[in-house]
């Protein structure tokens, strides 16, 4: 990791009365895969739209490279590559023609253009389909070409907005491999998703967003470690809750216990061992378990832990 390539400070964006992005600040290091994880409507796409120069923030500032995003938008545009959520391609044109068109828009021409189109087609594994119309491609192939179009001008940073939406598992893996390969070549990638598995697999660091705010930002491991060994929600009869609190807290694999409505939220050092201890404790005190939910330590659990909501809600 070197100097931050992107620095975001106090970003605010409103649509009328609705605040889409609220006081968002973070930085992105050159060469990392940075994830923006959150449910639909969390503010990921708005944040990405601002970083892509499509939207002007109401407050805050952003620098990409040495350039101010608003003041030096033209220079910033040359540094960034954007892969929108939609398949932003011309379906009746061939893959080659699509890339040539986008290359020309970025000022590429002649031998350089031809070389770049050939290179990005090879990169996404579509060299043999270069002459075919995009409308004849499968969903996964279109997604790959969509990525290729964002790479045509050799950007320093690539914004991928939910690139696996509507893609079959095989193509999804193909896209993951491409993203990893691009990153290995030194490309900085900002990856928005609401699939925690994707963020866990690909991202060096992840910012978890909800309702326009960044709730947590760390490496995937750092975020998961917040949960320790996992969380157990234990539903007990109301009369047993108070009396049980200290007994549960005293268990060897339990870290923190908090009463929540008619249940206990138990943060553990090791969820499975803690679960065994809890069952033994209940049996010993002849207390019936009304409900039991165990959250393994992953980003989904982290999100639930932070917001009380599931990612796919």
């Amino acid at each position: 990791m070197s100097l931050p390539l992107v620095v975001i400070n106090g970003l605010v964006k409103k649509y009328g009365q609705r605040v889409a992005v609220q006081d968002v600040s973070f930085s992105i290091e050159e060469g990392e895969i940075f994830g923006l994880l959150g449910p639909n409507g969390a503010g990921k796409t708005t944040t990405l739209s601002i970083l892509s120069t499509l939207l002007i923030p109401d407050q805050g500032n952003v620098t990409i490279g040495d350039y101010d995003l608003v003041r030096d938008a033209k220079q910033v545009k040359r540094l960034i590559g954007s892969v929108p959520q939609e398949l932003a391609l011309y379906p009746t044109l061939s893959a080659w023609d699509n890339l040539v068109f986008f290359g020309r828009i970025y000022g590429l021409q002649g031998a350089e253009l031809k070389e770049r189109v050939t290179a990005v087609l090879a990169l996404v594994g579509l060299s043999d389909r270069a002459a075919d119309a995009v409308q004849t491609f499968s969903g996964g192939m279109k997604r790959r070409l969509n990525i290729a179009a964002g790479l045509i001008h050799r950007p320093r940073i690539l914004f991928l907005d939910e690139p696996t939406v509507g893609v079959d598992p095989q193509s999804r893996n193909f896209i993951f491999e491409h993203v990893e390969r691009l990153n290995e070549k030194g490309l900085t990638i900002v990856y928005t998703t609401h699939y925690m598995e994707e963020a866990e697999r690909l991202c060096d660091r992840v910012a978890i967003m909800d309702e326009g705010r960044v709730l947590a930002l760390d490496t995937t491991k750092g975020l998961i470690d917040v949960l320790g060994g996992g969380v157990i929600y234990l539903g007990l009869p109301q009369a047993s809750l108070e009396s049980f609190l200290s007994a549960v807290h005293a268990l060897a694999h339990v870290s923190i216990v908090t009463p929540e409505d008619c249940r206990l939220k138990i943060e553990t050092k090791n969820a499975r061992l803690a679960l065994l201890e809890l069952i033994e404790l209940c049996n010993a005190h002849n207390v019936s378990i009304l409900s039991l939910e165990m959250l393994e330590p992953n980003l989904e659990s982290v999100f639930l832990h932070l917001t009380g909501k599931r990612l796919r809600d």
């Binding site: 892509s52 499509l54 545009k77 040359r78 932003a88 379906p91 986008f102 000022g107």
Partner: protein, 419 residues
């Protein structure tokens, strides 16, 4: 299966009725057509209600021209206008009214009209005369020919009615001067029945109708059907670019390609210009093909002013492309764009005179027609192709087209959203 069909039907009905713009267009459009086309075609289908106006300049020193004009006026669907602003029409005034486009047809009866008709046919110094039929060259031949035919028939009948009694009197004076008046009158009646046209014509009719254009219009020969129809249908055709352009813009928005282009180092106006340019060029090619093919295949004259033709074509194409931007800015769905395009284009074409000559429409509709770019483009083309005018003479119409184009572009760009 039936339930599935019903579910699909219900779903699509809901989707349709949620698109209020499309609903309005679907239901308003037919009424617009009924109204516009009915009014526009009323001159043809309801000739009794909407007379064909003919200016009449009566220079005749006798009474025969007045008889012809009275009979013409009594013949449906013609109406004769011999007085303009409380004064008898002169040839100069009639020509001026045609040049200004207020009327299309005028009849000029010569001073010797009655004298020629009333001459005794058997005399050696038989004289003939001409009634001048001044026609705006843009007037459809389908309209002019029947009028000319009717007029020729009326003239022959009048000449006949004038000549038979004179001829009978002449013969009685020569052969039986003592014959009683009653016998003469009886003979006149029988002669009229027995010699239809015989005394009036011979090889050369006494009165002929000569068609002419108003002075200043360099019309070497009468316009052919292509010169009259090609400009109208060319203009009608080029405005269909509106649909192509608007749908293409909508798809760019829907498919996210505009969004991708917005991220590229390129100004929005550059992007818009790049989007419009191909459609403008398509329009130009359309015009070149329409006029070129008509010229090569049908030998249609392209007038005397290539420069005028180029400038009018550029202005007309700009107006069509401008309207495309406006529709692209207003249409939110393909259904809306489709409906709006059909509504606008057919209405504007009809009002602008592309299908039916504007002079056959009621006066108020002719005035409404001037609010369409089609009318100005059509007039400009007809000035060049049919009336034989040059660039300078059509400049005001080019300016009007440019104003339409500018207005469409300004409003369109103002309302345009890239996302």
């Amino acid at each position: 299966m039936l339930k599935q069909i019903l579910a699909l039907t219900w779903k699509d009905l809901k989707v349709f009725f949620k698109d209020r713009g499309a609903v309005v267009l679907i239901f308003v459009q037919p009424f617009m057509f009924i109204l516009v086309m009915s009014y526009a075609l009323s001159g043809i289908f309801r000739a009794g209600d909407r007379p064909i106006l003919i200016l009449a300049v009566n220079q005749d020193k006798g009474t025969q021209a007045a008889t012809v004009l009275r009979q013409l006026g009594e013949t449906k669907p013609f109406a004769v206008e011999a007085i303009w602003e409380n004064r008898p029409l002169t040839q100069q005034k009639a020509e001026e009214l045609i040049i200004k486009g207020k009327r299309n047809l005028a009849l000029i009866f010569p001073p010797d009209f009655s004298a020629v008709l009333e001459q005794i046919p058997a005399t050696r110094e038989r004289r003939t005369t001409k009634v001048l039929f001044i026609v705006d060259p843009t007037t459809s031949g389908q309209l002019v020919e029947p009028i000319q035919g009717t007029l020729q028939g009326l003239l022959e009948r009048t000449a006949y009615a004038a000549i038979v009694p004179k001829g009978v009197d002449y013969l009685f004076d020569k052969l039986a001067p003592q014959a009683p008046a009653a016998e003469r009158e009886s003979f006149k009646g029988r002669a009229e029945g027995a010699m239809p046209g015989g005394l009036t014509g011979g090889e050369t009719p006494l009165v002929t109708v000569e068609r002419a254009s108003p002075p200043g219009m360099r019309v070497k020969k009468l316009p052919d059907v292509f010169q009259q129809n090609v400009p109208g249908y060319t203009i009608y055709g080029i405005f269909w670019i509106v649909s192509l352009l608007a749908v293409s813009v909508l798809r760019e928005k829907q498919e996210g390609t505009f969004r991708r282009l917005l991220v590229a180092p390129m100004g929005r106006m550059v992007m818009l210009a790049g989007k419009l340019m191909p459609y403008y060029l398509i329009n130009i090619v359309q015009i070149v093909i329409m006029l070129g093919v008509s010229s090569l295949l049908f030998k249609m004259s392209l007038g005397h002013s290539p420069a005028g033709l180029v400038v009018v074509s550029l202005a007309a194409a700009a107006t069509a492309t401008g309207l495309g931007v406006l529709v692209a800015a207003l249409g939110r769905t393909e259904a809306q764009i489709g409906g709006l395009t059909v509504l606008l284009l057919l209405t504007l074409s009809a009002l602008g005179g592309c299908f039916v000559p504007r002079f056959t429409m009621p006066d108020w509709l002719q005035t409404v027609g001037l609010m369409t770019p089609h009318a100005w483009a059509l007039d400009a083309y007809q000035d060049l192709l049919v009336r034989g005018y040059g660039l300078l003479e059509v400049l005001p119409k080019i300016c009007a087209l440019a104003a339409f184009a500018l207005a469409f572009f300004v409003i369109g760009v103002w309302r345009f959203r890239f996302e």
